[in-house]
Symmetry: C2
Subunit: 260 residues, 2 copies
Amino acid sequence: MILVADNLRITLPAIGRAVERLDPEPIRQMVSACMNAGAQAIDINSGPLSRSPEEKMTFLVRTVQETADLTVVLDTANPRAMAAGLAAGSQKVMINGVSLEPVRLKRILPLARQYDCDIIGYLLGPDGHVPTDASGRMEAAVALFNEMQTAGISPERIIIDPVVAPLAWQDGNRQNMTVLEVIRTLPDLLGFPVRTIAGLSNLTTGAPDPGTRRRYQGAFLPMLVAAGVSMILLNVLDPTIIRVAGLSQRIAGRTVFSWQ
Amino acid sequence: MILVADNLRITLPAIGRAVERLDPEPIRQMVSACMNAGAQAIDINSGPLSRSPEEKMTFLVRTVQETADLTVVLDTANPRAMAAGLAAGSQKVMINGVSLEPVRLKRILPLARQYDCDIIGYLLGPDGHVPTDASGRMEAAVALFNEMQTAGISPERIIIDPVVAPLAWQDGNRQNMTVLEVIRTLPDLLGFPVRTIAGLSNLTTGAPDPGTRRRYQGAFLPMLVAAGVSMILLNVLDPTIIRVAGLSQRIAGRTVFSWQ
């Protein structure tokens, strides 16, 4: 299981300022901290980058890859920023992501084919909403997988994100049980060992304090690991959560166990 | 999900002495502590009670039921002690348990029928060993469920314990993934919403220290809850573990969520 840091967000003031000024130092510090905490990949959550998207995304990708040997996950809805990031990156670049929304399929899928890179498909319907029941999520997963393959994406390149629901949503807990079911059953349903990813921080959107956030994430994370998720997008700078990730993997591992 | 305290063990010196002397006070203290910690049932782990089994088990059951309104889980391999416990108890008594071992089937099943009480069936083969692979556990579950029904036990009375493996066992982690699978799939396999139970403390047999024990139990517990286990036998006097049980249930709940 691969831990993907979700810590590099342009909405953090220090990161936002660094991107505006093309100042690499705050980015480097964040990337180093994530790598030291155990991240194997890092999500560049750049937002839409409405001004100078190419320049800014190129700066971000180069700064990250000069700092650490981490897979870079390009997390932007802006196709121009995405294209620039892919052009700037070395081999270890991933697209985050595409969904059944027609505009995304049309603008993003060709980039994935052109650069032959991993691409995350997340389970939103064509209307941009999360299907709320299990069958809707399963149908969306199958439709998206097929759509991506039809566009020439190799199944090995596809990573499905069933979209963790905030617990504070009505039915959020029930929806997340469906998320686990999708992760567990999708490979069988597709007849292909498709990889999956889940975003843990989403679970606790609206939580009243960091302790509550940590406790709920720490209880949901083992459920994701037991379901067989391939990658988790999470706050790698929380040592408690990283410890739970390690414990869960040792419990669920296929390897010989040791207490460490 | 029901939390069953596994704290009342005759192997604890204070409890062992109290049973020898028929001194109710140490028993009462333990039972009160378990109830206050959130237990809804309590396991009386009395061991074989080779001397005066009837007198001692009667004393134990009466003391527990005079102290608290908890379901009493009679955990002894001695059929004479079991019979005495059932005779002494009020309605809220459960047998722990029976397996495919012929001597247990023969001596314990008639008691369950006679007292029309809940009974735990745990997944050991006829030779007394835990089946090590998934299909062996599934076969044992189906065979045991059928055997119990054939003996006149109503399916509503049956609770299956797939036997959590110590992580320190060779293949313990792989076996526990099978335990989760049994819990998740058994109701479908049997075509009946059979209840399940898991013993959490077993996971960390041989753990080097209490912190390690707590951390591993705290990561496995959410996996059990997500799998849909009906009852968990655990150390209710560990507040961390009880907190994780609550978090896990709120995450997996079918109810409207609140952060509490």
